[in-house]
Symmetry: D2
Subunit: 298 residues, 4 copies
Amino acid sequence: MEIGLIGLGKMGYNLALNLMDNEHNVVAFDVNNEAVKKISEEGAIGAESIAALVDKLAAPKIVWVMVPSGPITEQVIDELKGLLAEGDIVIEGGNSHYKDSIRREKELSEKGIHFFDVGTSGGMAGAREGACMMIGGNKEVFHTIEPVFRDINVENGYLYAGKSGSGHFLKMIHNGIEYGMMQAIAEGFEVLEKSDFDFDYEKVARVWNNGSVIRSWLMELTENAFSKDPKLDSIKGIMHSSGEGKWTVETALELQTAMPVTALSLMMRYRSLEEDTFTGKVVAALRNEFGGHAVESN
Amino acid sequence: MEIGLIGLGKMGYNLALNLMDNEHNVVAFDVNNEAVKKISEEGAIGAESIAALVDKLAAPKIVWVMVPSGPITEQVIDELKGLLAEGDIVIEGGNSHYKDSIRREKELSEKGIHFFDVGTSGGMAGAREGACMMIGGNKEVFHTIEPVFRDINVENGYLYAGKSGSGHFLKMIHNGIEYGMMQAIAEGFEVLEKSDFDFDYEKVARVWNNGSVIRSWLMELTENAFSKDPKLDSIKGIMHSSGEGKWTVETALELQTAMPVTALSLMMRYRSLEEDTFTGKVVAALRNEFGGHAVESN
Amino acid sequence: MEIGLIGLGKMGYNLALNLMDNEHNVVAFDVNNEAVKKISEEGAIGAESIAALVDKLAAPKIVWVMVPSGPITEQVIDELKGLLAEGDIVIEGGNSHYKDSIRREKELSEKGIHFFDVGTSGGMAGAREGACMMIGGNKEVFHTIEPVFRDINVENGYLYAGKSGSGHFLKMIHNGIEYGMMQAIAEGFEVLEKSDFDFDYEKVARVWNNGSVIRSWLMELTENAFSKDPKLDSIKGIMHSSGEGKWTVETALELQTAMPVTALSLMMRYRSLEEDTFTGKVVAALRNEFGGHAVESN
Amino acid sequence: MEIGLIGLGKMGYNLALNLMDNEHNVVAFDVNNEAVKKISEEGAIGAESIAALVDKLAAPKIVWVMVPSGPITEQVIDELKGLLAEGDIVIEGGNSHYKDSIRREKELSEKGIHFFDVGTSGGMAGAREGACMMIGGNKEVFHTIEPVFRDINVENGYLYAGKSGSGHFLKMIHNGIEYGMMQAIAEGFEVLEKSDFDFDYEKVARVWNNGSVIRSWLMELTENAFSKDPKLDSIKGIMHSSGEGKWTVETALELQTAMPVTALSLMMRYRSLEEDTFTGKVVAALRNEFGGHAVESN
C-alpha cells in the first residue's frame, strides 16, 4: 500500500524502513530536511511539507503520524483535518493520551476522515524489525489497512483492540505494567546487592532467563545491561518517566481501582529524582522533637 | 551418575524421570510406597527406607532431597547426617530458607559431608523437561556434580551462585520478583476490566507477548488462563502464598532495603484472604464520628 | 457584620448559628424552605432567593456560599457574579477543588468582586462551636472580613494562607494527611485484633490519648467509636471517600511527588469497595498455571 | 513505695525524679557513677552494683529496669534472676521485643519472680512529667504496683493491657502507628513545599492544631520544629529508625496482615538512608536498553 508518513525520528525512521522492506510505498515528511533526504535515499518519496505529502498520495489517502505526543501531534492532526477528505485515513502511532485520541477521532469523523489510535511497544528495534501494535478505531475500515499491520509487526504482534481510544488505552496500561515489572526486577537486584553474597548479576539474569518463572524480555535486557557494566557503576539511579505510568495511575484513580504496585513504581521514580526530601526533613525533625534523636545537619 | 533421590512428589517424581532420560541412575525413596513402585516401573531402583537408599549407593554417595521444606526436610537431613560419610554429597532441592541451608551445610561439614542448596524454578514442567536451578555450596566439589545439572536443565538453566545458602537466597529473591511481576500484570488487567472498553483479554495477553516490552513467560501463562476462562468467572481472587515472598520482605527489612513493590504485592495477597477488614471498620467508624458519614451495617 | 449565607445544610446551618452567637447578622437562603424558616426562628433574616438575599444586604455585600461542591457551587457563584457589584465579597466555604477556586476568583475579579476560598475542617461540631478555616484570596481585603473568622473559630483556628486557591489547597492536603493518619491508626488496630492478645480497644485508644506520642483528635474519635461498639461488629469495613484524598494524590502526580502513604491510604479505600478483585483472579490463575496451586472456585 | 531503679539514662533519670516527686523512694544504680552521684543529690539512695541495689531493698523487692533494649537488658534480667527471690517483682520498661518479654516472664516465674513488661511512650518529657505506659503481666500482682503507675503517669495514662507481652506488644504497635502518622504529615508538607503557593509552615501547623481533624501532638511538634527552622534548611532528610516499626511490619507478616501504610513508612525511612539506589540504576539501565533513554552518568 501507499503510506504517507509524518515524522522521521527514532521510531518513524525505522518504521519507514520496515514499511519499505515489506513492499509498501512511503511518502515521508519531517521538519528535519536531513531525515527526509536520508529516507529518500532508502527509497521513500520525500515531501517538503505536510500539504505536499498529502498531495502526493492517491485517494483514499493513508497518513501515518509518528511525531512527539502533545502539542506537535495536535498541530499535525489539525493540519491534516484541513487537507484530507472523506474516506481518507489517519493513523496516529505516538504515545498520545487515549482521551485525546477519542476527541480527535470525533473531530475528524465530522469530515468523514477515519482515525486510528495505535499504541506501539517494542522500542526502536521493534519499529524496525517488528513491534507490537494495539489499534483502536472503526472495525470495518480497519480491515482495509490490516495488511500493513500484518506485514510490519512480528507474528501475532498487532491487535484490533476495539473502538476509538482502545489502542492508546491498551498501550498506556502496557506501560503501567512495565513500570511494575521493572521495579520488581530492580528491587530484587537491590537485595542481592545488599546481601553478603557475591553474585555475578549478569549470570543471575541469564539463569533467570532460562527456565525460570520470571523469564522475560525485560530480564534479557537486564542481562544485557549487566554484561556491559557488571555493577552499573557508571550510571546514576535516577529514574525518569515519560508519562504513561502517570496516566495509568490517574486512570486508576478515576476508576477507583487499587493499583498499589503501579502507583508505587511511579512514586519511587519521582523519589529518585531528589537528593533529599522535605518529607525526610519533617520526619527527622519530629523524631528529634519527641525523642531527642539526633538529626543530621546540612 | 548415580543419584539417590528422596521425595517423589510433584517435583521429585518429574525430576526422577528427567534424570533417567539423561542416562543417570536413580535410587528412589518416598514415604508413599505407591510412588516408589511407580518410579521403579520407569526404571529407577526403589528403596524402602532412607537407610536402604543410602546403602544401595556407591561412594561417594550423592543424595538429592526433594521433600516439603520445613520439619520434613530437617528430619531427612538429620537422618542422612547419621548415614552418610566423609566425601558424600547432599543436594537439597526444596524451598528451604537460605539460613537453614547455611546451618545445615555447617552441620554436615563437621562430618565431611558436602551440602548443596539448590533453588528450583520452572514448576512441574520444569522439573520434567528442564528447569532453572540456582546452586550454593563448595565450588570445587560442585564441579564433580555439575554434569548432572547440565543434563537436566534447559540450556544456561543452572548457575553455581556461590557459597552455601546462595542458591536458596537467589531462589527466594526470584520469587519476590515473581510476586511483583504477577501483581503488576494483574493490576493492569483490573484496570482494563474496569474501563468502558470491551477487551478480549486472551488476545490482549497474546499481543503483549509478541514484540512488546512486557513479553514474558508469565504473560504467556496469562494468555493460557484467559483462553480457558475469558473473564476468569470461575475462580475467586484469593491469592495464597507459600512463603518465599514473605521471606524476601523479611530479608529486605533485615538489610534495611526499600522494596515497596514486593512488600505491597505480598500484602495485597494477605488482603485478598479477607472478606472484610478491621482496618476498614475503624476508618469507616472514624468517618462517621467526625463527619457524620454513613457507615454500612453488617 | 452582616453576612449573606447561601446553603443551610449540615455545615451551613451550624455556621449560621455560630455567626449569630457571635453577634453577626445573618441573611440566609436555601433551596429548602424549611431550613430557611427554621433559621429565621433562630434570629436570621430569611430570603426566598439568591437575588432576594443579595438585595437585603448593604454594600459592600458579603456573601458566604456553603453549598455542595461541584455543579451547585458553580451555579451559585455564576448567579452571584450577575448580582454583585464592585467591592462586594464572596466567601466560598465548600470543599471545592483549588483550581476551580483560582478560576472563580479570576472571573469575579473582572467585575471587581472579591473572592475568598475557605477550606473548613472540624466537622459539624466545628461549624457550630468553632472550626479550623484556611483562607485564600486578596490579603488587604481579607483584613476587612478577618473579625468574622476570629469570632467563629477556635483560638488560632483560622489562617490567611496566601493567594487565591491556597485555602482550598491547604484543606485538600489536610484531608490527604487525614487519610494517612486514619489508615495508620486503623492498621494498628487490625494487628491488635489479629494477635492472640485480648485487648480492650476502647481502653487502648484511651491510654494512647493520654501522654503518648500518637495522641490526637482522631484517636479520641477512635475511643468514642469503640465505646459504642467494642469490636465494631455492627459496621462493615467499607471505606468511602469524598474526593480530597484523590485530589491530593493527583496533585502529587502533577508535582512529581512521592506520597506513598497517602496514595496507599486512598487505594485501600478503593479496595474496600470490592468483595472480590480481578487482580486477585489473575494472580490466582497464574499460580495455578505455573505451579498447579489450587484456585478457589466461585 | 520503694523502687530499685536500674538505668539512669535519658529515660531512667527522668523516671527517678518523677518517682521521687510522687513520694516514692528510689534506690538507683547505673554503670555510670556520675549519674548515680547526681541522682543521689536529688534524694535517691545510690547503689554501686545491681547486687548492692537488690540488697538495699526490703522484700517484696521491686526492681524497675530501664536500660537499652537487647543484650544489656538480657544481661540485667539474668543477673536479677540470680539475686531476687519468690514474690519479688521486675518491671522492664525498655523497648524490648514482646517475644523476649514473654520468654523472660516465663524464666523468672520459674523462681516465683513476677515480671511486668512496660511499654513507655511520651519521650523524656513524659518520663519526667507523666507518660503513657502499657503494662503486661499477672493481673493480681499488678494491683500491688498499680499505685506507682497511677502516680507517675498523666491521668488515664497507664493501662493494664493483659497477659505477659501485651505491654510491649501494644507499645510496638503504637510506634507502628506513629511511623504512619509521621509519614502522612510529612508527605503533606512535601506537597505544600512543591506547590507554587508560599505557605508559612509554622502557621499551617498551628492552624491544623486548632479545630481541625488532624490536630495531634505530632502536629504540635511539627509546629515547634518549624518555629525553630521555618524551612528545615538546617537538617537532612535522613530518617533513622530504632526497631519497633520494623517489628510491627514483621508482626504483620507473621499474622498475614496487610499494613501497607506502616510498611511503606518504614521503607521510605530505609530509602532515605541512601543517596543513590541499585534499584534506580537497574531501572535506568533498562529504560536505556529498550528505549534508548539517556542515563545520567556517575
